[in-house]
Amino acid sequence: MGRSERGAVLGPLESEVMNVLWGAGEALPVRAVLDELNRERTAPLAYTTVMTVLSRLADRGVARRRRAGRGYVYQAELGSPADIAVRQLLDDYGDAALASFVDHVDGDERLRSRLRRLVDEP
């Protein structure tokens, strides 16, 4: 994926934030992301700026947010800019003129058990 296409999927700061999340491989609080981003910056980013970016990424489904104590921690939901591009494609086009095999991810274990029974049946 070229730079221009990556730019169309993620903004510059969003790309930096996602790089931190991908690099960590685990859920991080806003403060940890902020510290990592500010490590080599001459003009440090504000806490609220990073929190807003993380929140926006979570709203778009690119990052996953869950409560931890009194705050939230964030983790990358998708593995690469290419995956984000596909997600964005489905979000953009799945609604209008695209029929896709799996639109919905359901974490219901009982449903998976029913699917397993169907797979295993003779």
Partner: protein
């Protein structure tokens, strides 16, 4: 459009609304050009106000439908470009799977790790699968996904989806229209699953669903189709072999739709009143 009842309902409702919308435009022309009609408007006659409301509803309806159609065509074109940019020649497992596949619609492979299977294209639909999907699924499961998408392509479901959305946007004052559009979409998915199960066996379809919902990189919900019960309906259909019964219409939307229909009838009556008062000769028609 065999057994596509939701889309037929939408088509019938939109067709039924058109004479009234044309009436609205006629009355708008009268209000703009005929002094007697203008006097009714200036006097605040309820019929003139109702006619103005009808004109407004017609303008929003046509504007909404045009917006959805243009957006759909634009998105389709952009998706074609996206596929063209990322298209890769089938190799390894993808080649083996596609070589033995009696394709009804063209199948295009795109190079991306995200599992993706979709049907795109309005008049000549084609199936798109990603290298991530090929890596995720076994041969039988991949064929089940191809059969599912083939059913979409054969019925031109992307075109139906776009048409349904445009009709629902046109009928914006009837909230059940959006519900009909959603039912149509769910119906297409269930029909495609039945086709895939007939062609490849239900174990293969179930296996593909299981792998994709369990995959860590699986495509998550699209904003407009995050229906938590729908996967359950697909599994139930695979188990029973019968399409699940459509649930009852939501009460809130039904009530709003009845209110919208009543408002529509009232505005049409007002428009007729203006027409009869300004063109007395029409009373004898």
């Amino acid at each position: 459009m065999t057994r596509d009842r939701p889309l037929l309902v939408l088509l019938a409702a939109a067709a039924a609304s058109y004479p009234a919308l044309v009436l609205g435009w006629c009355v708008a022309a009268l209000l703009g050009t005929v002094p007697a009609a203008r006097e009714l408007w200036l006097a605040g006659h309820p019929g003139a106000l109702a006619a103005a409301l009808l004109v407004l509803m017609a303008a929003v309806a046509v504007g909404n439908a045009a917006r959805v159609l243009v957006r759909g065509l634009w998105q389709t074109w952009r998706f074609h470009r996206w596929v063209a940019r990322r298209r890769v020649p089938p190799s390894g497992r993808a080649h083996a799977a596609l070589a033995g596949w009696d394709a009804v619609a063209p199948v295009r492979l795109v190079g991306t790790r995200q599992p993706l299977a979709a049907t795109a294209g309005l008049w000549r639909p084609y199936v798109v699968i990603s290298s991530g999907l090929v890596a995720e699924l076994g041969g039988a499961e991949l064929r089940a996904v191809l059969a599912h998408e083939e059913a979409h392509a054969r019925r031109r479901d992307p075109l139906r989806l776009l048409l349904g959305r445009a009709l629902a946007a046109h009928l914006w004052f009837l909230p059940l229209a959006a519900e009909m559009c959603g039912r149509a979409r769910r119906g297409y998915e269930l029909a495609a699953d039945r086709h895939a199960a007939d062609r490849c066996g239900r174990a293969a379809v179930a296996g593909a669903l299981l792998r994709l919902v369990s995959a860590p990189m699986s495509t998550a919900s699209t904003a407009a189709f995050a229906d938590p019960g729908f996967l359950r309906a697909r599994v139930s259909q695979l188990e029973s072999g019968q399409p699940p019964r459509a649930g009852a219409l939501p009460r809130g939307r039904t009530a709003l739709t009845m209110s919208g229909a009543l408002a529509f009838v009232l505005t049409v009556s007002g428009a007729w009143m203006v027409m009869l008062l300004t063109c007395p000769g029409m009373a004898g028609l």
